[in-house]
């Protein structure tokens, strides 16, 4: 079966001998015929991971880790009554949830939304900037974000060709939502499929 997770990052990334990769990459690789694919949240310590063809016992081990959030097997079902759990799981990792994810979304739409939001911190990483450091969270207001990070956010938005409208009280989650809303309606590839 195929499963999707949010899980911590391990590895220093100093070289391919100690790569940045998902916490359970080695466990997934130990399953015959299984593989993993990931999209990272820039330099933040979390990855969206798709495990392809893993077995039930391996999934149970991964899902039992309190640091892991496992999406349901059927990604076509709506989030519905699990909305609070989903939003909390996202916000605990500084991924906007409360202002981004509605109950009407399916989990497939959630995966697509997370991939899109992750693109913004990846671009910041390419600019040499980590967003969620020095006390900055998704709830931080623009006026409290360091000036260099503010500049990096504006540069990042411009690099995508996106606009960014902020006041002193605009939160980081609102900024990421603004950027999300401007992402073009195109397929995204991840884990051997389009989202």
């Amino acid at each position: 079966m195929d499963r999707v997770y949010l899980m911590p990052t391990v590895g220093s990334g100093s070289s391919s001998q100690d790569p940045r990769k998902p916490k359970y990459a080695d466990l997934i690789d130990a399953v015959s015929g299984a593989r993993w694919d990931m999209v990272d949240y820039g330099r933040e310590p979390v990855m969206l991971v798709k495990a392809t063809a893993i077995d039930a016992s391996t999934h149970a081990t991964i899902a039992a880790d309190a640091e892991v959030s496992a999406l349901p097997l059927d990604l076509t079902q709506q989030i519905g009554a699990n909305l609070g759990l989903v939003q909390t799981a996202l916000e605990d990792r500084n991924i906007p949830g409360s202002n981004l994810v509605p109950a009407s979304w399916t989990y497939r739409q959630l995966v697509r939304g997370v991939i899109i939001v992750f693109q913004f911190t990846q671009r910041l990483d390419g600019q040499g900037v980590r967003l969620f450091t020095g006390g900055v969270t998704v709830g931080s207001q623009w006026s409290t974000v360091p000036t260099a990070t503010q500049t990096a956010l504006q540069d990042m938005a411009a690099s995508f060709g996106f606009g960014l409208t902020v006041t002193g009280t605009t939160t980081v989650r609102q900024i990421l939502r603004q950027l999300y809303d401007q992402w073009p309606v195109t397929f995204l590839v991840f884990g051997g499929e389009q989202w």
């Binding site: 100093s14 391919s16 671009r123």
Partner: protein, 198 residues
């Protein structure tokens, strides 16, 4: 020069890549020429170099043939390599590490190496590996078939090049790189006109 850029690495044994051709600039580590192929030459370290003889579009590709392999070390093509000596690029490299013939698909951002997915096994001498970057979509190919693909926005531009790891007899040959053909995007009004013409 005109794209695609090519290099068959024909030169004297032991010549470094930038000495072989001044259009090559190293990002990190070292390559050298051996037996008219490109060989990794940095023990236990990541290696990359990029081609400065042409200007590449953001949407670009690079490919390299796995010419020989050893018990350690990997080599392959890279795209969107940073200018100068910064270890920033997307790459796919292969070898016969542990005898299994593995391929790794990755990004290196300012020296932080991140793997996009599981190792892919089955690499063999004379396989041709290619990587392309098309907007935020990255795809790795073996002998013309896609073997891995992902979405990543960390690196937006740069030059095509080569990448590797370690110092041994793993070698690459027949490097080629160029721009991807521009995609045809139909706007709604164009689609309507096209439908009427059809």
């Amino acid at each position: 020069m005109a794209l695609p850029a090519t290099d068959a690495f024909t030169d004297t044994n032991g010549v470094t890549l930038p000495t072989h051709n001044a259009n090559w600039v190293m990002n990190n580590g070292a390559f050298q020429i051996q037996s008219n192929t490109l060989q990794t030459n940095s023990a236990g370290a990541e290696i990359a170099g990029h081609w400065t003889g042409d200007t590449f579009a953001d949407n670009q590709y690079a490919k390299l043939t796995l010419a020989s392999a050893s018990a350690a070390g990997v080599i392959g093509p890279a795209v969107r390599c940073a200018a100068g000596a910064t270890a920033t690029y997307y790459g796919v490299y292969s070898g016969t590490v542990g005898g299994a013939g593995l391929t790794q698909f990755f990004k290196n951002v300012a020296g932080t190496w991140t793997q996009f997915g599981s190792n892919i096994f089955g690499a063999a001498v004379n396989d041709i590996y290619m990587i392309d970057a098309n907007g935020t979509t990255l795809t790795a190919y073996k002998n013309g078939s896609s073997i891995a693909t992902t979405t990543d926005s960390a690196i937006t531009s740069g030059s095509a090049g080569v990448t590797g790891f370690d110092s041994n007899t793993t070698r690459g040959d027949d490097w080629e790189a160029g721009n991807l053909a521009a995609a045809v995007v139909y706007q709604p009004y164009q689609m309507a006109v096209q439908m009427r013409m059809d």
